[in-house]
Structure formats: structure tokens, C-alpha cells
Subunit: 344 residues, 2 copies
């Protein structure tokens, strides 16, 4: 028994030079074996591999990135990770990234636009190869020409101020037109539209869809738009006020995930029930919506499709930095369930 540490377990991790020395080759050759960028004769290759195993050598990705000029990492910025829409989106992106041997740096801005800019700067300082951003505000534009210092970026879901970026979003306008039409068909004429923040592009589009559907039905005067802010609680408070009025709506179209929860809470808080007293059409989808009765009817955004598109656009932009920006739109689908009542 010896007191000296087992071989290959020195205090400092082995470097490429250690491997080269042990294998009796040059560092460059070790690199060529490991990256496969150049062919190496079989005997040397074997010696290198043996030395790698012997020393438990793991390449320092940092050094490699510095030299190579690419980090194989991307930054992803979302406003709120507790929102299942965003957590599912991040999970999808993470698995796409892993498949392409990319890693992701995550930032959750918690709907704070100030912090967001700083965090994006920090991501940039780490030399991420690209950025996927669901911004907390439309004016996320970083730097004068919104270019993030040349780092490729794709904007997702919201904040499309700058046309110069690649963007992916769902067809918010059509989704809300369809949703409103659905309520109209079922006889509702007094539909409150609960939105979050009117400053967000996607919310503007959703509101426009609602308006359009009413106009199409010849009911442009029936608009009833309530802005509830970005949390469940503020949404609940906002729509609860409407529900307490004598002329309360017969249906609520909650046009975001937090709005859906807020509306459901408000309905309970006012001792009403859906769909009997007031109907509810929600937005986004989550497991619980088909667990407790009544199942919640919603507009579903295709998260995997969104994530796939975002990833494809980003990889394309990394390959071709000067290509013309693309603006992709993916369709939503209506999931009619049990929370909407047919009116006489």
C-alpha cells in the first residue's frame, strides 16, 4: 500500500501537453486524434488514446473555444420559467441543442426588462454562438442597430420591434380570431377579452384577432378588453372587477397562460362557476387542464414546432450570418373542451 495518489489522479488535471509527452507525440497530433479534423496514422492514434485513458484526460473546452472562435453554446432568455409555456420551450430547445452538441446558458428575466439587457450582455461576454430570446419588452433592441454585436439571435414569441432579426411566433391574430369566433358560434355576445400587457407585440396581435372576429360578426361595438398585467394575481383582480358588474360578460377569453389561471381564480372568487355562470376560453395548454373537471378549453400553441423552428433559424443564421432575416409563423389550434357553455 502506498500513500502516493493513484496514477492519473494528480492535483492538476492533465493537459494536452501531458498526453502528448506520455504518448511521445506533439500536442497538435493529440488534437488531431481527438477532434478528428486531420488523419493520424494508426499506431500514433492508439498511443494517444492510451495516454488519454491513462491520464483521464478531458479537453478543456474553454481553451478550445478561445482558440477555435466558437463555444458551441447558445444563450436562451425567457421572461418566466414557472410559466409552463416557457419551461416546455426551454426543455425542447435544450434537447435540440444537446443533439447538436450545443449547451445552453439560461436566463430567466422574471419579466424585468432592466435586468434583461444586463443579462444579455453577460451572455454575449461569454461568447455564446447565438441567442434565443423571448424578450420581456418589445424594445429589447440591444445597441443601435439591434445586432447584439454581431451575435446571431432569433426572437421568439414576442418582441418583434426589430425587423432585422429572425423571428418565430405563433399566428396570434388568427388564433384569437378563431377563439372568439368559437365563442360567438356558441351564442356568446358579451365576451370579455383578458389580455396581459398591451405593450407586447403578441398581445397586440391577439387583441387584434379578437377585434377582427367581432367586426366580422358585425358586432364591433361589443369590444370589452381588460388588461390584467403579467401575473396571475393582477389578472385575477382585473377580471374579477368585470365579473362583479351587473352587466358581467357571459364569457371570458383569457389570452395568455397567467390570464387563464387568473380568470379561473376570479370566477371562483366571485362564487360563480364555469361553464354554468360564465364560460372560459384559455390560452396555452398544461397537464392540469385535462385533469380536473371541467376540462379547460384553450388555444394551444405548438411548442415543439416553435422550438424546432427557432433552432433551425438559429443554426442557419450561424452558418450564414448575412442571410436575409426570416419571419416564421406557426399556427395554433383550438382545443374545445368543457369550459364553454352553449347559450340559448
Amino acid at each position: 500500500m502506498t500513500l502516493s495518489p493513484p496514477s492519473g489522479r494528480g492535483l492538476k488535471p492533465a493537459t494536452i501537453r501531458d498526453v502528448a509527452r506520455l504518448a511521445g507525440v506533439a500536442p497538435g497530433t493529440v488534437s488531431n486524434v481527438l477532434t478528428g479534423r486531420k488523419l493520424v496514422a494508426e499506431p500514433l492514434r492508439k498511443a494517444v488514446l492510451a495516454a488519454v485513458a491513462e491520464l483521464d484526460y478531458r479537453p478543456n473546452h474553454l481553451a478550445s473555444s478561445l482558440r477555435f472562435g466558437r463555444t458551441q453554446s447558445i444563450g436562451i432568455v425567457v421572461p418566466d420559467l414557472t410559466n409552463p409555456f416557457f419551461s416546455s420551450f426551454v426543455q425542447e430547445i435544450e434537447s435540440l441543442a444537446a443533439a447538436d452538441r450545443f449547451q445552453i446558458l439560461l436566463m430567466s428575466s422574471q419579466e424585468d426588462p432592466e435586468g434583461e439587457v444586463d443579462r444579455i450582455k453577460a451572455l454575449l461576454a461569454r461568447q455564446v454562438d447565438g441567442l434565443i430570446i423571448a424578450a420581456s419588452r418589445d424594445d429589447v433592441a440591444y445597441g443601435e442597430n439591434s445586432t447584439f454585436g454581431g451575435t446571431p439571435a432569433v426572437l421568439v414569441d414576442r418582441a418583434f420591434g426589430a425587423e432585422s432579426f429572425d423571428t418565430v411566433a405563433t399566428d396570434n391574430e388568427a388564433a384569437c380570431r378563431t377563439g372568439t369566433a368559437h365563442l360567438l358560434e356558441l351564442g356568446h355576445r358579451d365576451i370579455a377579452f383578458l389580455a396581459t400587457d398591451e405593450r407586447l407585440t403578441n398581445i397586440k396581435q391577439r387583441t387584434a384577432g379578437y377585434r377582427q372576429a367581432l367586426a366580422d360578426a358585425g358586432l364591433p361595438g361589443r369590444e370589452r378588453i381588460v388588461y390584467g398585467g403579467l401575473t396571475i394575481e393582477t389578472c385575477r383582480a382585473a377580471i374579477e372587477q368585470e365579473l362583479r358588474r351587473a352587466d358581467r360578460p357571459t364569457a371570458i377569453f383569457a389570452s395568455a397562460y397567467v390570464a387563464t389561471l387568473g380568470a379561473a381564480k376570479a370566477i371562483r372568487a366571485t362564487d360563480l362557476a364555469f361553464p354554468d355562470d360564465v364560460s372560459l376560453l384559455g390560452f396555452d395548454d398544461s397537464d392540469w387542464m385535462t385533469v380536473l373537471r371541467p376540462y379547460v378549453s384553450t388555444i394551444q400553441q405548438p411548442i415543439d414546432h416553435l422550438a424546432n423552428t427557432a433552432w433551425r433559424l438559429l443554426m442557419r443564421r450561424i452558418e450564414q450570418p448575412t442571410a436575409a432575416p426570416l419571419h416564421e409563423i406557426v399556427p395554433c389550434s383550438l382545443r374545445p373542451r368543457e369550459s364553454i357553455r352553449r347559450l340559448a
Copy 2:
């Protein structure tokens, strides 16, 4: 009008040397100004800052990390980001990290132990300063002495095979003892315990708590443990079988988030209702549990407390790599709501 690009917008980003040249100082001085590690005389400081602004210089964090030996980044591994327990946990950690100027590399192993090891290796290759791991299996141990090559790591929630790590978890045993006792008090004698995967430490502890409570009540023969696996669907299927038996339980204790959703689904699928036909005690907490009726009674894990502790332990270990490992336990709380019926 000129065709040459505006100043400071060259093709290549400015380096510390460019700044030094423009300010008429040495690169080291620029570094000292920017990091604040050494004092620099005011006039030079100003000149440096002016040059930084002029060139829109942003330090390359990669190069700094390589030289400095620290990346100010940590890796976080969770088994499933769509589980609100983990997404909330990650969000908490992210904000703690941001406050300490750390960034986080996220991996979601999607409950796949194979992929997990590879991903941890990739994280290590990026020289993260530390790791926070909610492993998908107890045998996550990486390398012979479970040391992750010297990188500090704290294990969270589950997978505590290796005593040599710092760990944080909730008091699973006590939580399930309390929960079972609660059901017992309300008159239930036939309680099915729905667990996910018996190979996980935390699940073993939860099961032990259930057993202990039954034993304490003098009912050791009434154990009824069902393992439903790690998804909502498999949990649903497993407990649905129990519910279809003639001697179906009067209560279900769903001992994990996916189990709670699975149990609720199974109850609906068998045309039963809770709490009337069968009572339900869930695990973890989520917004929807207090939105739709009946509100779900659960055992709540204090996510912020867990995250704070994990962060504190990790920072401590980074400062003092050789300190003795700490094993922290934080208490859960019972949230009695409406899904449990008192039996005659």
C-alpha cells in the same frame, strides 16, 4: 456620406489591446481599471473608460476565465423541466446565481440516466465552477470516488448514494409520516401510497414515512404501495388498476408531482370523484391546485428554501473545497385543502 463603417464598428470586436493602444496605456492597466482588482490613477482611468466607450469594448469572458481559472458559471442538472418543482427550483437558482454574478448552464436529462452522465461530462469540460444536480438515478456517481474530477457539486432532492457530496433535500420521511397520519386522523384505514420509482432515495424515504405512520397507528398490515413510474401516464395506469378493484382504497397518497396528476386522472377515468368517492393527498404545489375545485390537499416542499440552501452549500464548497460535506434537510408542510373527506 462615407462608405466606411462608423467608428468602433469594425468587423472584429475590439480587444483589450485595442483599448490599451487608444488610451495610451498597457493592457494590464485596462484590466485593472475594468476588474477593479488594482487601483489606477484617475487620469488614466478616465482615458481607459473613454477608450472602452469609444470602441464599444466588451471583455471576452472566455479568455478571462482561461487565464483566471474560474468561469463564474455553474451547471445545473434536472430530470424534467416541465415538472413545476424543478422549473421553479431552476428559476430560484438562476436568480441567486445572477445576484452573485454567476451564470448557469442548464441540462434537462429528461429522466434518462445514460444521457445524464454524458451531459455532466460536457458541463465539466466547460470548466464550470460547480454543479447542482437533481440526478435521475442514485448511481449518478461520476468517476470512482464520485468527485466529478474535483469540481464542487451539491446533490439536490434525490440521489444521495455518495456521502462525500454536500446534499440538500426535504424531510421526505417526516413529510409522508405527517401526510399519512393526516389521512389516518380523518378516518382512512385503506390508503394506497402511489410512488414513482423505488430506486430513488427520496422515494424510498417517502415510502418509509408512510410505513412508519401505519406502524405508529398499529396498522402495519394495511400497507398498499403502488409504483407508477416517472410519468403522469404510467402513474395513472398503475393507480387506476387499484381503483378498479372491489376493495379499492378510500384514499390515495400521491407522493410526487406526476403521481398527483396521475391519480387525479385515474379518479376521473374510473368515473369516481374526489373527495366523495376517494380522497386524494398530493405532493408538491402548483398554481392550479388552488384554482379548480376541489382544491388539492398536498405536501408542499419549500422550493426557495431548498434553492437557497443549495446555493449556499455550493458557494461554501467553492471557497473551501476540502470542508467536510454537509447534509441539509429542510421541512415540508402539509397544506390541507378540499380533496380529503372525513370518514365516519
